[in-house]
């Protein structure tokens, strides 16, 4: 998976954010505390609920087919206390997992 690749969420796959969880996790991030332990976004497929953490949820929302992986990394970099290479690896690994699940498709 390359940083120039571009993906979008599979149309029709139900998902939603959990607003309270997003608020708590964002507050933790802003305060420099650990975040990522709570599910902030739910994806439901065949009755199975999968919770994405704050980073996964933010990547998910940006997968609308208009951005490359590199552009997603650029957009998230100021919001997470992590180096670019590490974030790029996280984004690539996460997208590879979503692709294997069939939750994103090449745009």
């Amino acid at each position: 998976m390359e940083l120039t690749d571009c993906y979008r969420r599979r149309p029709g796959l139900p998902w939603r954010e959990e607003p309270d969880a997003v608020r708590d996790e964002m507050a933790a991030l802003e305060a420099g505390r650990d975040a990522g332990g709570e599910g902030t976004l739910l994806v439901v497929e065949r009755g199975r609920i999968t919770e994405l953490n704050i980073l996964g949820g933010e990547i998910w929302k940006l997968c609308d087919g208009s951005r490359s992986l590199g552009a997603i990394v650029d957009e998230l970099l100021p919001r997470f206390d992590v180096g670019r290479d590490e974030l790029a690896r996280d984004v690539q690994e996460f997208l590879a997992d979503l692709l294997a699940r069939g939750w994103v498709v090449a745009a």
């Binding site: 139900p14 998902w15 309270d20 009755g47």
Partner: protein, 337 residues
Amino acid sequence: MSAPGKIYSAPLLVNWSLNYSCNFSCEHCYSRFEKAEELPTERVLEAGRRLAKAGVLFANFGGGEPLLRKDLLPVSKELTALGLSLSMNSNGWLLDEAAATGLRDAGFVSVGLSLDSHRPEVHDRFRNRPGSFDRVVAAAGHLVRAGVKLTISTVVCRINHQDLKPLLTLAKRLGAAQVYLHNFKCSGKGMEHRFELDLEPLEWRDFYREALGYADNPEWPEISFDDPILASLGARDEEHGIPGSTCGKLSLHVRPNGDITPCGFIPLVLGNLLRDDLPTLWRESSVLESMRHKTAKGKCTACGHYASCLGGCTARAFAVSGDLNAPDPHCWENPCG
């Protein structure tokens, strides 16, 4: 007091009875005696907007027979456009080729047909409608040819509990992707016919043991049976991680007039979708609070399965005892406890 499992910010699923009117009069019908004014089209759409705004992802139309609503297709099209993932249940009588393509074009993700026996005469008698078996089989064909995902809904009871394999065989032949095995509920006409139709606890155990043998087997349509008492067979659905009934934890029911109840089988009104704020009701309803924090009673107090089963189906317990915390009457564990 039990832990509820995770409670999200809003229900994921709403079972929505758009109408209680029906062209059938089935022996087990939970809603036959229910009376509620049907909302006009614009109010249904407003209700749908409120569901979507609250974050509800799935709406499943039941009733009543949804196809009796003349505005079903245009309403569904608009609700789909709001982002709701729609499904519905029908007896199939009115589901001809045009209806099937209309449902497809309105965006239905799946359509469920009620089929209670592989034997035409048994299905027709149970549904009190001669010819209903042939019509539902024809409806299945229309849906499959239209490219709509077909599911079959069977109310498991005295007339069919020993006929699971031929029923699944028929469902497979019809092209069903999924078979919902609904456990019999003592509500409405179901309560009236409870002693003729309901199974004894050990019969439920034997039925579920057999049914589990067909689960997760690609040879058969996918089988769904959301019944908390399966916990004692070690087979509770794992995907949602919610112990006990999912009603009031992942789902709610909406009546034709917009009244909200925990499920279609518990007649406790929490509020009204068009009058009240859904997320507030979801968060603050004392009825939902009681269902999410049940207290073991009777034989449940000594049962090792309670943590995952939470007394079984709250609706069944409430229907026969008036107590949300009473043990599920279908439960086969500790019969003398």
